[in-house]
């Protein structure tokens, strides 16, 4: 019933702790212009814009799409602003795809960004919540107990997080856009980095980045005549569950499992480890790689760490994960989910340069947010459905 949707243009900024050379508008334009150029299009060719970002308090601008309308060529067009916490970059791409799939628009520009240097992100995440105990030490403090429980349940050895971080930091060296690039990085260096929220070390954590990511999505006719390689959207899925409830499993949340199942059914995937050629998974702290491998069905419950330990998720493994360096290497929060979606598309378009997986045909983009409760995913392929 739905129209096909393909990614025909992708643009990213260089991610950095502070992009002092650009205003907020300049940042989103850098990504948007690169996506348009990649698609061989101009502003006038775009029918609608879908923009996403995480809390407005990161920049101190309320509903910034109003101010950004001019910079994004949106004047006289529809513009939608999505916010679904950390999963927002993915959710934004899914909303944009739905406008094409619904045959409402032919070509949609979707952008997501965060300019965290405009304020202090950890401060914004640690704001004292009224009527609650103020022990909120940023996202790491929130997720560390969940990681501890995962380690206990799965009996994973202590070094798994270090292996993930080492892999992603090596991959980041092959991605010119990555924020954290540590030439000559060693596992020992990661192990000796300061413990921030036990068991999470400094080099097992994501940085705080400025950056933006953009994609041009098109319907079948426009994708085919673009002359560009196309990443066809084979499925999109979202799921949400409450932050806290009696008996909730925060380590392996059902919303993530249900979301993956929905996605795989759409894309005809029966064995994700066999069917996908690579995956970009939202891993802000190293241990979330084995946790999400299980949640996504790449590994049986309790065995995700064995996949990591075996090297399966490395660039030359059988199921490469986060070839771009992942969220551990660049984290402009509002953009991070879209970067996962875009990096999956870049792979199946054969455009990933040094971090390309040879012959990648089917790839997963994954994002999550809130207290591991909001999930968005898509599957993209070089092959038309």
């Amino acid at each position: 019933m739905a129209e096909l949707c393909g990614v025909i243009g992708i643009g990213q900024t260089r991610y950095a702790a502070k992009r002092g050379d650009l205003s907020i508008a300049g940042l989103v334009r850098e990504a948007a212009l690169r996506a348009l150029e990649d698609a061989g299009l101009e502003w006038k060719d775009i029918d609608a814009i879908v923009i996403g970002k995480a809390p407005d308090m990161f920049e101190g601008v309320m509903m910034p799409e109003l101010y950004l309308a001019d910079a994004l060529g949106a004047v006289g067009k529809p513009i939608l602003r999505v916010h679904t916490a950390g999963s927002v970059g993915g959710a934004t791409a899914i909303v944009a795809a739905s406008l094409v799939q619904a045959k409402i628009h032919e070509r949609v520009l979707t952008v997501s960004f965060e300019k965290q240097s405009e304020s202090n992100a950890m401060w914004a995440l640690s704001l004292k919540q009224p009527f609650q105990v103020h022990v909120n030490a940023g996202a790491g403090g929130y997720f560390a107990p969940h990681i501890r429980e995962y380690i206990h349940r799965s009996k994973a050895p202590d070094n798994i997080g270090i292996l993930v971080a080492y892999k992603d930091r090596l991959n980041a060296l092959k991605n010119p856009y990555a924020h954290l690039q540590i030439p000559g990085v060693t596992p020992e260096q990661i192990e000796q980095s300061p413990m921030l929220w036990e068991p999470i070390r400094f080099l097992e954590s994501c940085p705080s980045s400025d950056g933006a990511c953009a994609m041009v999505l098109a319907d079948e006719r426009n994708a085919e005549r673009s002359g560009r390689s196309v990443a066809w959207v084979r499925g999109t899925a979202m799921r949400s569950e409450p932050t806290m409830f009696a008996g909730r499993d925060e380590v392996n949340p059902r919303a993530g499992r249900d979301c993956a199942r929905d996605l795989y059914a759409q894309a005809g995937i029966t064995d994700p480890r066999r069917d996908f050629d690579m995956a970009e998974i939202y891993v802000p702290f190293s241990w979330f790689e084995p946790m999400w491998l299980e949640n996504l069905g790449f590994a049986e419950e309790g065995t995700g760490w064995k996949m990591v330990e075996s090297g399966a998720t490395m660039l030359d493994g059988d199921m490469p994960v986060n070839c771009s360096g992942g969220v551990l290497s660049s984290n402009a929060i509002g953009a991070s989910g879209m970067v996962r979606f875009a990096e999956a598309a870049i792979q199946v378009r054969g455009d990933a340069g040094e971090h390309q997986i040879d012959g990648a045909r089917l790839a997963l983009g994954h994002a999550y947010g809130g207290g591991s409760q909001f999930f968005s995913m898509w599957a993209v392929s070089s092959e038309k459905p």
Partner: protein, 168 residues
């Protein structure tokens, strides 16, 4: 014009100050009134029977109002924790400190609080805890009437007994 202007302006500082008066809501009002009296009060989901502490007014799994005033114990079990080595902006708690997920006896919903009164290296999952309250004279309408939780000395609860998604 003698002042030399910079070639590039990277930062301008625009102070933003907004004041809000928060409303705790009816469920939190029950909890905060309890705190003032040194009691920990929650509410029950009328569908599942789960007791939510602190109550937030709704049963998240059923989308219905929680009911009643259910007093729970100030003893509980540590479900998981982290040792935080970073300062919390705007907090008096100084690192390293233990932030823990605690299930109070009589409650079905965990809460977050600080564990102190022992070395961080002694803290473990399944450990039994009890609340350490401020002096009675200092009790306010605040969860922070409980300064922290400390080991109670009761035997640990087997971690295998922790339920997941059963009572939802």
């Amino acid at each position: 014009m003698t002042e030399k202007l910079p070639d590039k302006i990277e930062t301008i500082i625009t102070p933003i100050s907004l004041e809000y008066e928060y409303t705790p809501g009816t469920a939190s009002t029950i909890f905060l009134r309890g705190m003032k009296q040194g009691r920990i009060l929650g509410q029950r989901c009328p569908v599942s029977g789960a007791v939510y502490v602190p109550p937030r007014g709704s049963s998240p799994t059923h989308g219905v109002p929680t009911e009643g005033e259910i007093e729970v114990s100030d003893h509980g079990t540590l479900r998981s924790f982290t040792v935080v080595h970073l300062p919390i902006p705007g907090s008096e708690v100084s690192p390293p400190f233990v932030a823990a997920i605690i299930l109070l006896d009589g409650a079905d919903q965990t809460c977050l609080h600080v564990v102190s009164g022992c070395e961080p290296s002694e803290v473990r999952m399944g450990m039994r805890l009890r609340a350490v309250w401020k002096n009675r004279a200092d009790w306010d309408y605040s969860f922070e009437n409980i300064r922290y939780f400390e080991p109670s000395g009761e035997p640990d609860v087997p971690i295998e007994s922790f339920r997941r998604e059963s009572s939802a």
